[in-house]
Symmetry: C2
Subunit: 166 residues, 2 copies
């Protein structure tokens, strides 16, 4: 998608589509590390303050990232099925995480820079623009991952550093 971006345009933009993609995927690398840090049992069973398990939060993220970016590309309303289990083991979840990584890349390659200000309704209900929807997807991941950090800490497990995204 960057073939049309000239150096002049590059310096006059806050962030390029390819940079925002790399930013998100970097965050997803860190979230993946967090999933790996959880013991299987606690991933699916541990919770604090009546909140969801980290597995349930991750299932929400998986319900958003692939379908949400696909919806942006196709314009076809995506269904939001966070409640349906995405895997019975951490290994299954991680496999789906990696498939989603590819799906995001594939969908992203079809989003022209001129589309980021298009008005859309994510999952048929959340009004915004392509840009605000994608920022919401990323921010929501950071938010829940921050909660996963507290879960790990209270389990006595050292989480990865916040800047560790490679």
């Amino acid at each position: 998608m960057n073939s049309e971006i000239t150096p002049k345009e590059k310096v006059n933009q806050v962030i390029l589509p390819s940079e925002l993609l790399a930013h998100w995927q970097g965050h997803r690398v860190l979230t993946r590390k967090l999933i790996e840090k959880f013991p299987d049992k606690e991933f699916f069973g541990y919770t604090l303050g009546g909140m969801r398990t980290f597995a349930e939060m991750v299932e929400e993220l998986l319900s958003i990232a692939g379908p949400g970016t696909k919806e942006i590309v196709t314009g076809k309303t995506a269904s939001f099925d966070e409640a349906s289990p995405k895997g019975k083991t951490k290994a299954e979840i991680l496999e789906l995480w990696d498939r989603t990584t590819e799906e995001i890349n594939e969908n992203w390659s079809q989003i022209e820079v001129g589309r980021f200000h298009d008005e859309i309704k994510s999952f048929g209900q959340y009004e915004g623009t392509v840009q605000s929807a994608i920022l919401y997807f990323i921010d929501n991941e950071i938010h829940h991952r921050g909660q996963g950090y507290v879960y790990l800490r209270t389990l006595g497990i050292e989480p990865p550093m916040f800047w560790d995204r490679n």
Copy 2:
């Protein structure tokens, strides 16, 4: 800073400087709501898993936002003094929060769109670009605020909704 941005440029950018500012300030509105939700005692004294209190996290955010954006504008290395207390009461912290809101706006108005890809060293040590530094400031706030949500939940206090940023 948007006076030089024509409609043509607008549609060919992921996000405008003014939009990124509004995005950040929206997040800061939500973080402010979280601070307000904490009882004074728990704000300064409650912690989980050996982590910092929410007050300490907020003091970190205050050490970053104003000085970090000022450093971008002036090019003068900012000192990072997250350890120094920013206030003895929640009211004092909230006052500083609001002053920081103005500081960010003031600094932001001096960051031209062409500067977002400039290479900088935040606080004299963190290498990146203006853009990656600002995203780090925002992401770090979302991250710690997510942890504040867990603190509130375990205290039996209902936090504000994640999308409540007005």
